[in-house]
Symmetry: C2
Subunit: 412 residues, 2 copies
């Protein structure tokens, strides 16, 4: 069953907006075993869109379009396909009523243009839009299926989940199962990771293996296709075992688990509270930790000690230390960790100091030099890192490194 996704909209062609509908549809189709092997983008131009739809109907069994169902003159998808298929557009009273009440509920005036949205191909299945005005349309035509969906992701996604997936599954049956599993790692670069599991990557077939770099983490994604979920899972389990043997140390979670979530669970389980004294990260580590629901159970609080005056007055760094070792030094980081731990009375204290740049670097202490210290019930550690990149990248890497060091500190 060959599927083609046709994304319409001149705004997509300009490259200023990234097309998220096509990857969404492809992913969802894949989950029920359909392959969107052609994906085309075309602007709001009658001739070109008609050309694209004609080609799609020739080479694919199912054509799914997104966009061009709005009320403006630029929204032409239905007109173009109606002409191409030789089917008239007729007013669909129920859809018009839906649009009317949509406007009424919001106390807005419906324009004459909105009536265009209720014009539907004769003999088509109408899909109600629970998140907006434009209904979706399913047309069965000479052995092919054409599905028109609205462009706004919130409308398209809801409609696809609620109506299109059930329709496809009923009409064509589920075409096998594809499942993915992601091993999330930290502390290995992309090329080192690739070297470690190169033989598996080169020999990949089913499951496939993909490495994805995501702000300091490397994700290993395994995707297997089989006739049943259990069979697909078995294929993944087998590969996962082999890959884990090579990189186990660096795997902190799977699928959607974030580093802050994993670390948070470890703190909660062990009933450990934590506080941080952050300098170069400006509170970003604490912000990440508090992204996790329930983090108030283990996070006492933090001080962003940006000015040296805050370091000396509040988090236990002495003037002598600052003068002797400097604000960016292992000694200062450790003093901050101990200082905040004592001040806030938490089980674990973390101190972070570094040079995020672009200014402030010297030959001896370049931009990207960072010290992370942890002080807690099992003693303390201080880590030196030398990151490269721009200011925000250095901050992000420092946040990741801190969370990873904390993870290692807890399990050591």
């Amino acid at each position: 069953m060959i599927v083609e996704i046709v994304s319409t909209g001149t705004e997509l062609l300009l490259g200023q907006i990234v097309n998220t509908n096509a990857p969404y549809l492809a992913r969802k189709l894949n989950e029920i075993g359909f392959d969107a092997v052609y994906q085309t983008t075309v602007g709001d131009n009658r001739t070109r869109m008609s050309n694209v739809l004609a080609i799609a109907l020739e080479r694919a069994d199912i054509v799914i379009t997104s966009g061009g169902l709005g009320p403006t003159q630029g929204d032409i998808t239905k007109e173009v396909s109606a002409e191409l298929l030789g089917r008239e557009l007729q007013l669909h009273e129920e859809s018009l009523e839906h649009i009317r009440s949509f406007f009424a509920r919001r106390r807005l005036t419906m324009t004459q243009n909105n009536i265009r949205q209720a014009m539907i191909h004769e003999g088509a299945i109408v899909v109600t839009n629970h998140r907006g005005t434009a209904p979706g349309v399913i047309i069965e035509h000479e052995g092919k299926t054409i599905i028109h969906l609205p462009g706004p992701p919130i409308e398209l996604e809801y409609m696809f989940e609620q109506a299109i997936i059930p329709f496809l599954a009923n009409r064509f049956g589920v075409q096998g199962v594809i499942i993915s599993k992601v091993l999330r790692t930290i502390g290995l670069g992309e090329s080192t990771m690739e070297e470690r599991i190169r033989d598996y990557i080169l020999a990949q077939n089913n499951p496939t293996i993909a490495l994805l770099a995501r702000s300091g983490e490397i994700h290993v994604r395994m995707t297997a296709k089989s006739y049943s979920e259990v069979a697909a899972k078995m294929l993944i389990d087998e590969l996962e075992l082999k890959i884990r043997e090579r990189i186990e140390d660096h795997i902190f979670g799977i699928d959607e688990q974030s580093l802050e979530q994993i670390v948070g669970e470890m703190l909660a389980t062990r009933k450990l509270s934590i506080s941080l004294a952050e300098s170069c990260t400006g509170g970003a580590v604490t912000a990440r930790l508090t992204d996790v629901p329930g983090s108030s159970v283990y996070l006492t609080g933090s001080i962003v000690a940006y000015h040296n005056r805050i370091k000396t007055s509040f988090v236990g760094v002495s003037e002598e230390m600052l003068n002797h070792y400097g604000a960016v030094s292992p000694d200062t980081a450790l003093a901050m960790a101990k200082g905040i731990r004592g001040l806030f009375g938490s089980d674990i204290g973390i101190g972070i100091t570094g040079i995020a740049g672009p200014g402030g670097g010297t030959d001896e202490k370049p931009v990207g030099l960072v010290y992370i210290a942890i002080d807690g019930p099992t003693g303390n550690i201080v880590e030196e890192q030398r990151f490269t990149g721009q200011r925000i990248a250095i901050k992000t890497r420092t946040v990741n490194a801190t969370l990873e060091l904390l993870r290692r500190y807890i399990i050591r």
Copy 2:
């Protein structure tokens, strides 16, 4: 001059990776006046790729492909186009030498497979890959131009800037100039914004107008095309004046200027220092402020007062106040603002308290209720916000609202 972008790679079809090459190429082509009116994605499948390339060569003048130039058996772009065009692939010694030295410099062994990367269509222009191994290829064929570029964005983008843009400009001339200007606004919803400038949006032609929602900000992008930069700028200036009349209050910056950057400049110019007591945002406001280089000039420091104990012991919230009004109240927010201002001795103090959820909400104080207080040399203000959405969205909206309130406080 019609351009088609063909993105190849089965990984793109699965929707797990978002295609960033096509929007990049479209944007860059646009800047020199070329319209990529068709954009197609196809997997590493000979028949389908050949079909896609044949259609592209028929309807477009210039076809640009990305991907499929690697060393593996799945990399077939050049083979497919060679067969389609009836041109042989020949070993290009210089490219082979480049690949050899690439491996030698990294002390890696070149595999037999890499030789495939040096196979080039007869009569083609070879484009050196300064960021990787696969050379790019430009083929002129029966009045059409086919350009093959490697898939990794870092390689593709470098090659496009360095070699393809100059080639296109030389060969076809720059096709007019397209420029964009973005007005960045905050404090208006997307639909309110649309209502305010609906007549301009409906009447748009050249310049075009696009509204983009970006984590709490609404960006109004105007794009004009003309024969010269000055002429295009004039078109934009004219429209900008009209739009500003309607939404001036909400525009905080243009193009790439971020809210934290604008606010930072205002603080620096006025020589105002600032400190924050953050609760529900967990340090995220301070983290955003410190994303700006040089923020140490005005940011003294912050306390993330997550536990009530930290609120009472450090940032001036009394036990009585907590018991009487609760941690999430205008009184507590203002006490935090005053408390941190006094404690850290800064000109301005900010206090933020709210319920980020998903737990902790009540009928009276639901998830999303947030109080932001500012205390400073011109008095104080407290703002109540009721945000909807998930935890992280609520945090992000609170960060934006805080920065915006600070901007208004400074200019009031």
